[in-house]
């Protein structure tokens, strides 16, 4: 916010335009020619609109200065330098699930693990599918996320090369989660990756997908991810995003959900890492009777900045949406929750609710929370509420009066505040993994042993 106007700094933009020129020739040779018009349209749009500034209402609380003044290099394949052992800490214990590993944006089959998936279920590389079976992608890929309006989506689409593709046929239930690990190995120059994920679920199917962003080593980098989730009628989809990149990482990721009739989408976001993170979640309840639960937990300290932007679109009648976001902010960190609910004209009987609760642990931590309701139907129920507070000293005294040391009492209350969000996660190995990450984050979280 304190940065001056950044519109004029075009180092990042110029770098991307140059990279696009350099890469364009190669792309048309490797069988992905059909994507070229889409990529060109996207880069042209980006050149046109540029990156947003704090004068754009949707970016009011987040200065992109550190990003727009960096000339990012395209990330180069580095899978060979990655030892499988170094990825072990990111695996979910007790879950021999399919894990698709991408290093610097490219699929790394040698680091990935597969488990038996039900017949017809696909989980693999988007690049491979682009080459082998583009017909499976054409109806969905880049059809939902609007790169005309969103600079980072335009950027992602312009450089769309690889990422995960998951497809579940009608009526199939995938029991184990599909883990998509996006690894960045930073180099001496700042690199950018643009992972693209496409998940398509058939009518009445069920699947959970975890997108997990990590850095191996230090160095600035940008992860600019876009995920399109096309949810069939009556399909039940769980989506998890874990942001645990390094403190030098910039992370912008967008989840765009397109929901069919009576479908259910649950989105969990846990932000722990990164210097600057912007998380966009944009479900469109396109079919009648759909429901969408958006849960988020962001925990920041030091100088971290975490911006959560929701745009929940009710486009059909009888749909229900719930947003619950919790933030814990320490040090000089800055959190943002911007929750927009749009109820279209025909979306009668909409039931939308939004809650944002924040704990500030230090004098210098800051939170901006902003609800925004745009309602064009007349028979709807929409509520929102936000709270900002400190740890309840009354509760601390209560716990101490029963024998708990003050530090343990504080750790316990912090964990409890966050733990509530973890309890909502249905995939147990993922939940347990995150419980551990949150415990590690909590100051003196080691005291929680035996308390949880």
């Amino acid at each position: 916010m304190t940065e001056t106007m950044t519109r004029n700094d075009t180092r990042a933009l110029d770098g991307f335009l140059q990279s696009f020129k350099d890469l364009e020739a190669g792309w048309s040779k490797n069988g992905q020619g059909w994507l070229q018009p889409v990529r060109r349209a996207a880069i042209a749009r980006l050149a046109d609109i540029g990156f947003p500034t704090v004068h754009d209402e949707d970016w009011r609380f987040t200065s992109l200065a550190p990003i727009v003044r960096t000339a990012f290099q395209p990330a180069v394949g580095a899978a060979a330098s990655v030892d499988a052992g170094s990825l072990a800490p990111f695996a979910f214990a007790g879950c021999d699930c399919t894990c698709l590993v991408f290093v610097n944006g490219r699929f790394a089959p040698e680091l990935s693990t597969s488990s038996l998936l039900p017949a017809g279920v696909r989980a693999g590389s988007l690049a491979q599918t682009l080459a082998d079976d583009r017909a499976a992608l054409e109806p969905h890929l880049a059809r939902h996320e609007d790169f005309q309006q969103e600079a980072f989506s335009a950027l992602n689409t312009a450089f769309l090369t690889d990422g995960a593709f998951v497809s579940v046929p009608r009526g199939i239930v995938v029991e184990k989660p599909i883990h998509i690990l996006y690894v960045t190995v930073p180099g001496s120059a700042a690199v950018a990756t643009h992972p693209r994920t496409l998940v398509v679920t058939g009518d009445g199917s069920q699947v959970s997908v975890v997108e997990d962003f990590v850095s191996l080593g230090d160095g600035a980098h940008l992860s600019n991810a876009v995920t399109e989730l096309v949810v069939g009628d009556g399909s039940v989809v769980g989506h998890y995003l874990i942001q645990r990149e390094s403190r030098q990482a910039y992370h912008v990721s967008t989840l765009r959900g397109q929901q069919g009739r009576s479908s259910s989408l649950t989105s969990h976001t846990v932000l722990l890492g990164g210097a600057l993170t912007r998380r966009n979640i944009h479900p469109v309840l396109a079919g009648e009777g759909g429901e969408c639960l958006i849960n988020g937990l962001f925990m920041a300290n030091g100088l971290q900045h975490m911006d959560n932007y929701m745009k929940v679109e009710h486009a059909s009648p009888h749909c229900e949406s719930r947003q619950v976001y919790k933030g814990i902010l320490d040090g000089k960190s800055h959190g943002v929750f911007h929750g927009r609910i749009i109820v279209h004209k025909d979306a009668q009987k909409t039931d939308a609710k939004q809650t944002n609760m924040n704990l500030l642990l230090s004098e210098d931590a800051q939170i901006d929370t902003k609800p925004q309701l745009e309602i064009y139907a007349d028979d709807v129920k929409c509520t929102h509420g936000a709270t900002v507070g400190q740890i309840d000293e009354e509760a601390i005294f209560y716990l101490r009066s029963r024998g708990l040391a003050e530090a343990s009492a504080r750790a316990l209350l912090l964990y409890a505040f966050a733990g509530d969000m973890l309890q909502r996660m249905k995939v147990e190995p993922v939940r347990r993994h995150l419980e551990r990450l949150v415990t590690q984050w909590v100051p003196q979280g080691n005291l929680l042993e035996g308390v949880r």
Partner: protein
């Protein structure tokens, strides 16, 4: 066990306790009665170590040690327990886990080994029975969504599990129906013994039908103005606090 001498305490610059003297020996049950605003709850909170109260004068000895020098958790570990008038709701903290942490913190303080899950469960089960607790309450967040009666019962349950030497009950009877009160009183009476003492703070005499005190003290305007046996409680029940408040006012003038 407990010796309170000329205790003065204030909050936000206002003096609430104006020289309380009280001696409680092991094995005794004392009741502190008094009108609203007389300082009963302040006394209970000061004894438990509430930091928002400032002790300006006097001393409190607990088993010969200076109680006021101890942190709230040290007091708990030394065997002081306060059953809160308004038990705090703690969303996300499981009642059972919390109690286990408390039991083990106290055991650790005394150099004892931590209880394992099985022993702890056995302890919980026996105390649950004593208080006719619904097992469901154990797996819920501490006090969250509990009714008034459930919260009070949970306090006594905590007390039964932690087995304190000095239990301070702050208006544990308020908001309880007669059945709940009997259950709570059972729990309290089960803890009575020659090595323990209790301070029962209450506005009404009702609870004292079930927890029969050895001594009754009347606190008015921050001082104990009368002390007596259990019959004093009955007298107050009949005559109300008005007479005693009048005496106290006279006393203050004189």
């Amino acid at each position: 066990m407990l010796e309170i001498k000329n205790l003065h305490a204030k909050i936000n610059g206002r003096e609430i306790l104006k020289g309380v003297d009280l001696t409680v020996r092991a094995g005794e049950v004392h009741s502190i009665m008094g009108p609203n605003g007389s300082g009963k709850s302040t006394l209970a909170q000061v004894l438990a170590g509430r930091e928002s109260y400032e002790v300006t004068e006097g001393e409190v000895l607990y088993r010969g040690k200076n109680l006021l020098d101890m942190s709230p958790e040290e007091r708990a570990c030394e065997g002081v327990f306060l059953a809160f008038q308004y038990p705090v709701e703690i969303p996300g903290v499981n009642n059972t886990y919390f109690l286990k942490a408390a039991v083990n913190a106290i055991r650790k303080y005394h150099g004892q080994e931590e209880l394992d899950a099985m022993d702890f469960l056995a302890l919980m089960r026996s105390k649950m029975k004593l208080l006719d607790m619904d097992e469901g309450l154990l797996n819920r967040s501490v006090n969250e969504g509990f009714s008034g009666g459930e919260k009070k019962r949970n306090e006594i349950f905590h007390m039964a599990v932690l087995q304190p030497a000095l239990a301070i009950l702050d208006e544990t009877d308020s908001g309880l129906d007669i059945d709940a009160m009997k259950i709570v009183a059972n729990g309290v009476n089960a803890l009575r013994g020659p090595d323990r003492a209790m301070l029962v703070v209450t506005h009404y005499q009702r609870l004292l039908n079930y927890i029969v005190p050895d001594f009754v003290h009347v606190l008015v305007d921050g001082r104990i103005v009368r002390s007596g046996g259990k019959e004093l409680a009955l007298e107050l029940e009949e005559q109300g606090y008005a007479g005693i408040e009048g005496e106290a006012a006279q006393l203050a003038k004189a």
